[in-house]
């Protein structure tokens, strides 16, 4: 509760100083609108923002789901098969040295202007954090547990199921939380590069028409959506996996 009050106060004071700065310096509204005019733009364009938000949300949710599943499958593969670890890991790390921004135009070229190229962008941007976090958790299962399992004559498959996977759940959760922050970035980059829908598109559109207030309104919407997504996912993970996250 205290935390919420602090956050609200922080934002209120940011808006206050912003408003103050604009009134004192008096820049043209297309350079920096006042918070109030952003609010007005938000209200006037609420339907437009809503429609484009839905597109972005759908892209993010699909990308997030597929990306997390793929990341988990890759991490398990890396853990189970030594050969896969030797081949895939360097490849994965190499793939991370290419900025996702740089492949965005290619994806649009290959996958078109629709939702698919954005979903793939979101997947690409979250795939590695999820894989890496989950695999770290799996491979860092304390040796003392595995030794115990060995004296108990546990099979590899059951050791994975009952020791390694439960042990890696906190790391996997960190990976998923990171992913929930990154996925919207991926989707919006995809929309910037080429699309006719989504908050990223709306920002580019507003920017081109010098509707800076609308651009800010879209930006804030995106921010609020991202924070909500992060909060929701953190909450869901916390309540569904609480026994693995404490102690």
């Amino acid at each position: 509760m205290k935390a919420i009050i602090y956050i609200v106060c922080t934002f209120l004071s940011i808006f206050f100083f912003w408003e103050l700065a604009v009134r004192l310096a008096n820049p043209p509204p297309y350079i920096l609108p006042t918070p109030y005019s952003v609010l007005v733009a938000f209200k006037e364009n609420s339907l437009l923002i809503y429609e484009h938000s839905i597109v972005t949300i759908v892209e993010v949710l699909i990308g997030l789901t597929i990306g997390i599943i793929l990341g988990m499958i890759t991490a398990l593969t890396l853990e189970i098969f030594v050969t896969a670890r030797l081949i895939l890991r360097p490849l994965l790390i190499f793939s991370q040295s290419i900025p996702v921004f740089a492949i965005a135009p290619l994806l649009t070229l290959w996958l078109g202007y629709g939702i698919l190229s954005k979903v793939v962008m979101a997947i690409l941007i979250i795939y590695f954090p999820v894989t890496s976090a989950f695999h770290d958790g799996l491979s860092q299962t304390p040796k003392r547990y595995l030794d115990l399992a060995k004296t108990m004559r546990g099979t590899n498959r059951r050791n994975l199921l009952y020791l390694k996977i439960p042990h890696s759940i906190p790391s996997l959760c960190s990976g998923i939380k990171l992913a929930s922050v990154y996925a919207p970035i991926g989707a919006v980059i995809g929309e910037w590069v080429g699309s006719s829908q989504g908050l990223g598109y709306l920002m580019i559109l507003a920017n081109g028409r010098v509707k800076t207030d609308l651009m800010f309104a879209s930006l804030f919407t995106l921010g609020i959506l991202s924070i909500t997504l992060f909060g929701l996912i953190s909450y869901l993970l916390q309540i569904s996996l609480s026994k693995y996250l404490k102690g």
């Binding site: 003392r144 547990y145 030794d147 115990l148 399992a149 060995k150 004296t151 108990m152 004559r153 546990g154 099979t155 059951r158 050791n159 009952y162 020791l163 439960p166 042990h167 759940i169 026994k243 693995y244 404490k246 102690g247």
Partner: protein, 244 residues
């Protein structure tokens, strides 16, 4: 689950790592139906011996042999209890007790499990997680898991080391009583525990492992037994001279 007759185990040979000799000449006879103690200063490599017997990976090589008197493999009928209770933090006491069954994918009788949990006095705590338990309760849960495994050979790696003295007394009695009839190899640096509990006592030394005099049965001896204190003192002297 397994044949209830406990085997005796013999370990003969020398143990060396890549850079040094850990135990030059070691000759252990771990007899059935009693407690055998491996006594040695901290850090001498007592746990390594247990790991060798349990068939766990070590950084050392044994030149010699580990044999049982019934010539059956040893490592698949061993259970292991350590100072660190090794309870799985995300599982309840009850789930921890049957961890072995779960890892082997075998069915077990819930009544038997409850009986064991009752025996170690954790009935009121069986749904709790390890972090909700005291040190003594955690060690009881580890004992319950060992009893659930019901293997003929039990390796104890300083299981009482981290307990306060009252809890330790209770735990020693409970453990000794409930592991009756098994081949128990007990590693400790505490000569008092060795004197009270063990019918055979070995003192580990770099060059040579020596078999030491022990007390006559019945065991366990009481805390204040005069004979225990006498033996404890002579053991302590030998450990010290072995270290230097």
């Amino acid at each position: 689950m397994m044949s209830s007759t406990s085997p005796s185990i013999e370990l003969i040979g020398s143990v060396r790592s890549e850079s040094e000799v850990l135990f030059g000449d070691i000759r252990l006879a771990v007899r059935a139906n009693q407690w055998t103690c491996l006594l040695g200063a901290s850090g001498i490599g007592k746990s390594t011996i247990l790991r060798l017997i349990a068939g766990l990976p070590t950084h050392v090589k044994l030149d010699g042999s580990i044999k049982s008197n019934d010539h059956l493999p040893i490592s698949n009928r061993v259970s292991y209890m350590a100072q660190n209770d090794l309870l799985i933090p995300w599982a309840t006491v009850s789930a921890n007790v049957s961890l072995g069954n779960k890892l082997r994918g075998e069915k077990f009788s819930p009544e038997k499990k409850l009986k064991i949990i009752e025996k170690v006095g954790l009935m009121d705590h069986k749904k709790k997680y390890p972090f909700q338990l005291s040190g003594g309760q955690r060690q009881r849960a580890a004992l319950a898991r060992t009893l659930m495994e019901n293997t003929p050979i039990v390796l104890l790696d300083e299981p009482f080391g981290s307990l306060d003295s009252n809890t330790r007394e209770e735990m020693i009695d409970l453990t000794f009583e409930s592991l009756k009839g098994k081949t128990v190899l007990f590693v400790t640096h505490d000569p008092h525990e060795a004197a009270r509990l063990c019918e055979s006592i070995y003192i580990l030394g770099r060059q040579k492992t020596t078999s030491n005099r022990s007390l006559k049965p019945p065991f366990p001896k009481t805390y204040s037994d005069k004979l225990v204190f006498d033996l404890q003192y002579s053991l302590l002297e030998k450990i010290k001279s072995n270290r230097s």
